[in-house]
């Protein structure tokens, strides 16, 4: 159950459209099914009323869309940002990826988003209708009555381990401001670190071999905004569209994670959209954890203009040969 | 025991590298027991380096060294002559099989006034 209502957001958007503050609205709209909410652009109050959705399935992070949208749109764009989205928003500003002046950001509180897979696991296949109220009511082809589940039980992994309810960027904030949270988001990484190399290899071999190279993780990632992606660039030496063998899955995922290292805000979109349910956030979080441990706490996107660990140094940094011991010592 | 073994032994025991010595003589210059000694700290270093160890073992100088470590402190090259003297002392004690101080002599020496530390260090110095 989200604290702020869909109506309130529609009203806000409609009034900003009306008074000319913004020329369009970046928001969520219903997809093919009730659970696949998709990003959409709304230009009028009618469109908003017809299609705008705000419920427990609005996971999409809009920051990345601003790059393309600000380039093509006259006037300001209204964007709704959940707390975790604001970090991506700031990170993109740090990288000069869009014009801040062309955006009107409205921060909205978030109670965590539902994981469709978990919903399916709880209610079975054949979902035909979902109503998000106090509880999530799921109607399926096979059950007579709607099945009610508690949103808290089906949260996305990233929301279970939510790192912050605080908005780090906005022009206007709806609802109450939250706090940066203590989260257990590195526990899973730590668990892997304490395994033997063989166990880790087996774990990742199992996970990554499911990859179908749909590129959804890259396409959704708000840090993956290159004008030309290395995976699409024949000159990069790693251009590749589909996995030919197990090496390329690893290669792709190492390169993808390394490319966003220091820039990844841990928004968790990669894992959310992965159709094969590969825990991609565990790769990103490994980098974040290492950087925190070796180079001091760093949260990408916490402020605009921060200097990421990989474009920085101190004269007494840890030597590359010493990094391996860390996990064991901590364990 | 041949000299080479003895020399290696001394160097290993003491952890001293006499090759670092630059013959400045500051150890002997700083030594408070200099006049009591037949062989002086700098000579310990050069004689051990040359394998000329017999005269040192047979000399009383071994027991004149106060082990005050002034030479160790002042040596600009970090040679640590006192540790070498100590090592030669140990070699002498081991060789003779007869200690200058035997364990059963100690109880007689004990009295309430003598600090225990003194007994322990004297024992360390004169036997092993």
């Amino acid at each position: 159950m989200q604290k702020i209502t869909q109506t309130k957001l529609i009203d806000k958007a409609a009034s900003l459209l009306k008074d000319g503050t913004v020329s369009c609205v970046l928001g969520w709209s219903k997809g093919e099914f009730d659970y696949d909410i998709t990003p959409a652009v709304f230009k009028t109050e009618e469109e908003l009323k017809e299609g705008f959705v705000w419920n427990d399935f609005c996971g999409a992070n809009f920051s990345k869309y601003l790059i393309e949208k600000t380039r093509k749109t006259e006037g300001k764009i209204l964007v709704f940002l959940k707390p975790c989205d604001t970090y991506s928003f700031n990170q993109l500003l740090t990288e000069h990826r869009f014009d801040r002046e062309k955006v009107y950001a409205v921060g909205i509180p978030c109670e965590g988003m539902a994981d469709v897979e978990k919903v399916k696991a709880a209610c079975g296949d054949g979902i035909i209708k979902i109503d998000c109220g106090e509880k999530i009511a799921v109607t399926t082809l096979y059950a007579d009555d709607a099945i009610e589940i508690d949103a808290k039980d089906v949260l996305l992994e990233r929301c279970v381990n939510c790192k912050s309810k605080k908005h780090v960027a906005y022009d206007e904030l709806l609802g109450e401001e939250g706090e940066v949270l203590e989260s257990a988001r590195f526990d899973e990484v730590e668990k892997l670190e304490t395994m033997t190399p063989d166990e880790r290899f087996a774990f990742w071999q199992n996970e990554l071999s499911r990859c179908i190279r749909c590129n959804a993780c890259r396409d959704v990632c708000p840090a993956c905004t290159c004008e030309k992606c290395v995976f699409n660039n024949p000159q990069s030496g790693v251009e590749n569209k589909s996995p030919a063998n197990s090496f390329e899955e690893k290669m792709f995922h190492i390169i993808r994670a390394y490319h966003v290292a220091g820039r990844c805000t841990d928004c968790g979109e990669c894992s959310r959209v992965c159709p094969q349910n590969i825990p991609l956030h565990l790769l990103n979080r490994k980098f974040i954890k290492d950087m925190n441990e070796f180079y001091g706490e760093y949260q990408a996107g916490a402020e605009v203009g921060q200097r990421a660990p990989l474009v920085n140094y101190t004269t007494d940094d840890v030597e590359p040969g010493e990094v391996f011991d860390r996990g064991d010592i901590d364990a | 025991m041949n000299n080479k073994y003895l020399q290696e032994d001394l160097l290993r025991m003491s952890g001293v590298n006499p090759k670092k010595c630059m013959r400045c003589g500051k150890c002997s210059a700083t030594c408070p027991a200099y006049d009591e000694m037949e062989y002086h700290p700098h000579q310990f270093v050069s004689m051990v380096e040359n394998g000329d160890i017999e005269p040192l073992i047979n000399s009383d100088s071994l027991y004149k060294c106060l082990t005050c470590f002034a030479c160790v402190d002042r040596c600009p090259r970090g040679v640590e002559p006192a540790k070498l003297v100590e090592a030669v002392r140990l070699a002498a004690v081991r060789r003779q099989g007869a200690n200058h101080l035997k364990a059963d002599m100690v109880p007689d020496m004990l009295d309430d006034e003598t600090p225990q530390q003194l007994i322990v260090s004297a024992f360390r110095k004169y036997s092993k």
Binding site: P197, V230, I254, A257, V318, P320 | -
Partner: protein
Amino acid sequence: MQMNEYKPLIVAFCCNWCSYAGADLAGNNRLNYPADVKIIRVPCSCRVNPMFILRAFQRGADGVIICGCHPGDCHYTSGNYYTRRRMAMLFSMLDYLGIEKERTRVEWVSAAEGAKFAATMNDFAEKVAALGENKRLEDLRCKR
């Protein structure tokens, strides 16, 4: 050439100013190290993109070593400091994926350290040889 004995393939990236010169010095002093080590000259260790390392493993390298000036002595003042962070992150990630950590190494070798260069290469080659072939990061299509 068919060899019965297993010979690892090692790619060494050496910065032009220190480590490449150190390798030259090892040669000048006729210090032996295995021929399995093949050196690629780069202007600075910070020129080494993690992608090059993955590429080498893909193409069948069994070990990759990056050599640069000692921290603080970089010809370009700060290049090797970036190398240190980048490689620390990459190596940690490879280890996390279960790749043997002995297959990668960063060593600081100055132009005067020919002996260190040879000793490093001997040691690295020995460690990599002990691991055997690189199976975990290989691309079968690139196999010899």
